[in-house]
């Protein structure tokens, strides 16, 4: 989100002083200082346009600090005299040092792409919950009365504020305050704050507005204990994943990188079996089948077992997908076999049901894209599934998961993490060049919105979006008896190329992390692909590495 430096409130604040200074300024060569900002120049401040970003940041930080300071009763700030009009930046910096002194200093590398970079907020939520409502009113009023300033008792000299970002910062503060209230079980307060969020959100545009709206709704559901009726319907989620697949590269990245690992594991096999823990629309498999078809030495016989949730209207969605894949396979000349299994949860699966053939005859791959984290909601779920996987004796297991910690024990921590994560995701959706009003974009946002709702509003077995970061999955999978398989340079290359194809390829980043690949938006990794094999077995790629 870019700052709009042109909007300044309070510009009409001191007509008497500015007119005299204005007279002087207009006689000078406006470019003498090297592009001074015109609007601030009118007020008597000589600030270079290039410094504006810095000044704006500092002003914003100052404003936040002033907000807390006011409640602590430090009122002499208002009497500070501004001695050197041209050094606005330095003055603000001094003030900040005065305040922040021994405690947290603002991060000098504060490079703000999104307003809701929560690392910028020093300490906890800026409004202590006890004083919230009056506090809110006061600070809002204080900021807005800068324009009619000289009568205000708190300042003798008006401070120039950049108005457009103020509401955004307020919004984040209010969201955090509301979550804290929920955490402390202060539901009355939380209720009042949630309504505020609605108001503030309506003043925003774009990604911030949508994220705030979804989080506000989720908080409201949590407060009033109204849970979404179809939150447990996974088949609806599957349908929503299609537009998500099409509007942004996350799923494509997941599929292509996982396919690359599977392809390499299948390199010498003549019969292969893929077990897909979440078949959905089968979008991952055409690319793999095409690569197998063009394999030097000819394609193997390809068997696919797809697992999916029960459909509400009792249609056999799995068979329909299988049929489409069979048509494709016939076109490109691959021997294909499909079997679908309906299961409410992966933990209900028994490996014997899947007709696993011995490894000498058929090589097995297990694929789980966003399918493992829901198992953490049931005690014993993940352990059961992991032991099932081991019983299938796969040559490779590919796992793709969200790179976020939405499964901590403390609600407020989860809320903060989720706010940051989904804000970044929505930012990337907005920046991806998809037409703003398209149905696909709306559906993708709904897909993410339902996840937000689940993370914030639900608890216990209902809370299935239990995302955990790669480090935690690594520990869990390794202790269960698997060794990592490094995703090679081919996967990295393909992923990079895939991302370069998207209009905002500049925003997406592929990172390699100990053999796993992560896709992120700017500096924040969002999803991670990893590959595993049973510990104690040798993988083909490792063999070739040893030989070469």
């Amino acid at each position: 989100m870019k700052r709009d430096h042109q909007e300044i409130s309070g510009s009409g604040s001191k007509p008497a002083e500015s007119s005299s200074i204005k007279g002087k300024l207009w006689e000078e060569d406006p470019d003498a200082g090297g592009m001074d900002d015109e609007l601030l120049a009118v007020l008597g401040y000589k600030v270079r346009s290039s410094d504006m970003a810095d000044v704006a940041q500092k002003l914003e930080m100052l404003e936040k600090v002033m907000g807390t300071a006011q409640e602590d009763g430090i009122s002499q700030l208002g009497d500070t005299v501004h001695f050197n009009p041209s050094d606005l930046s330095g003055w603000v910096q001094n003030l900040l040092i005065e305040f922040n002194g021994p405690t947290t200093t603002p991060d000098p590398n504060f490079n703000d792409d999104s307003e809701y970079d929560l690392r910028a907020i020093p300490g906890v939520a800026a409004y202590p919950p006890v004083k919230s409502d009056p506090g809110l009113e006061n600070t809002r009023k204080r900021a807005k009365t800068e324009s009619s300033s000289s009568s205000s008792s708190t300042t003798t000299r008006p401070v120039v504020l950049i108005d457009s970002q103020e509401a955004g910062v307020r919004l984040v503060h209010t969201l955090m305050a509301c979550a804290e209230a929920v955490q402390q079980d202060n539901l009355k307060l939380a209720d009042a704050l949630v309504k505020h969020i609605g108001l503030l959100a309506s003043s925003q545009t774009g990604a911030m507005r949508k994220v705030a709206t979804y989080f506000a709704e989720a908080l409201a559901r949590r407060i009033y204990r109204i849970f979404p009726p179809d939150s447990l319907d996974p088949s609806y989620n599957d349908k929503l994943q299609i537009p998500f697949y099409e509007t942004c590269p996350y799923l494509k990245f997941a599929h292509f990188t996982a396919n690359q690992a599977i392809l390499e594991a299948f390199s010498m096999a003549s019969r292969v079996h893929v077990i897909d823990f979440g078949l959905k629309q089968g979008m991952q498999w055409p690319a793999l089948m095409q690569a197998l078809a063009l394999r030097p030495g000819g394609p193997p016989a390809f068997r696919l077992t797809g697992i999916g949730p029960p459909q509400p209207d009792n249609t056999d969605a799995l068979q329909q997908v299988g049929w489409k894949l069979a048509q494709l396979a016939e076109r490109i000349g691959i021997e294909f076999e499909f079997r679908g299994f309906v299961a409410n949860s992966l933990a209900d699966l028994e490996p014997e049901m899947l007709d696993i053939r011995p490894p000498e005859i058929e090589v097995v791959a297990v694929n789980a894209v966003f399918e493992l984290h829901p198992l953490l909601a049931r005690p014993g779920g993940i352990e059961k599934v992991v032991s099932s996987i081991k019983a299938m004796k796969p040559k490779i297991v590919t796992v793709v998961e969200q790179e976020a910690n939405h499964n901590g024990p403390v609600f407020l921590d989860r809320f903060t993490e989720a706010l940051h994560y989904y804000s970044t995701l929505f930012d990337s959706l907005e920046g991806s060049g998809v037409a703003p009003a398209s149905q696909d974009l709306a559906m993708s946002e709904l897909y993410l919105g339902r996840q937000i709702c689940n993370v914030v509003a639900c608890e216990g077995m209902d809370r299935v979006e239990r995302h955990e970061p790669l480090t935690q999955w690594r520990t869990r999978i390794e202790t269960a008896g698997f060794s990592p398989v490094h995703l090679g340079s081919n996967a990295y290359k393909q992923a990079s190329m895939l991302l370069a194809l998207f209009a905002s390829g500049d925003g997406y980043r592929v990172e390699e992390n100990n053999g796993c690949l992560m896709l992120g938006w700017h500096t924040r990794p969002l999803i991670a692909t990893s590959a595993w094999r049973l510990a104690g077995t040798e993988s083909g790629s490792e063999l070739t590495q040893e030989l070469s």
Partner: protein
């Protein structure tokens, strides 16, 4: 008088011209194909609008095959059957290879030409699968041109 002489001269000149064989490229389709084979995609499309014969020739898939694999070592024979099964080289080129090449142009490394084609083939296959129809899209009517995952390739890139 003088004019008449001139006319006669013209006539004789004209007659001489008619006696020399004229060269119409359209009579030599094999040469035409060789020339068209070396054109780039845009020129090939332009050539297709010259006349009916050129249009027919330009539709010939082998011309587009050359275009796809121009800077790459010749692919294995299995590629052709797969590509033809999925819709042909012209579709592969216009739908996948050209946008992929132009988008990746700024990051072009020599070794990536092969990978570009590979990626194009994969995306081509995904596109075919999506077009297979059936109840794959939620709420989309059959016959309505449903945006596929290749739509992002067709969007103009804002530079």
């Amino acid at each position: 008088m003088v004019q008449n002489h001139h006319c006669e001269d013209h006539e004789t000149v004209g007659e001489n011209k008619e006696k020399r064989p004229k060269f119409f490229i359209n009579d030599h389709v094999d040469i035409l194909i060789e020339i068209l084979k070396r054109l780039d995609g845009r020129s090939l499309c332009v050539a297709a609008s010259v006349c009916r014969l050129w249009c027919t020739i330009a539709r010939n898939d082998s011309l587009w095959e050359n275009l796809c694999f121009r800077h790459v070592s010749p692919p294995s024979s299995s590629v052709r059957s797969v590509v033809l099964a999925l819709g042909g080289y012209k579709r592969l080129y216009t739908g996948c290879v050209r946008p992929v090449r132009s988008r990746l142009g700024r990051m072009r490394k020599a070794s990536w030409s092969r990978d570009e084609v590979q990626l194009s083939l994969s995306l081509f296959c995904v596109d075919y699968y999506e077009r297979l129809g059936g109840s794959n899209s939620s709420g989309r009517l059959v016959g309505e041109s449903s945006p596929s995952s290749l739509m992002f390739l067709c969007k103009p890139v804002n530079i």
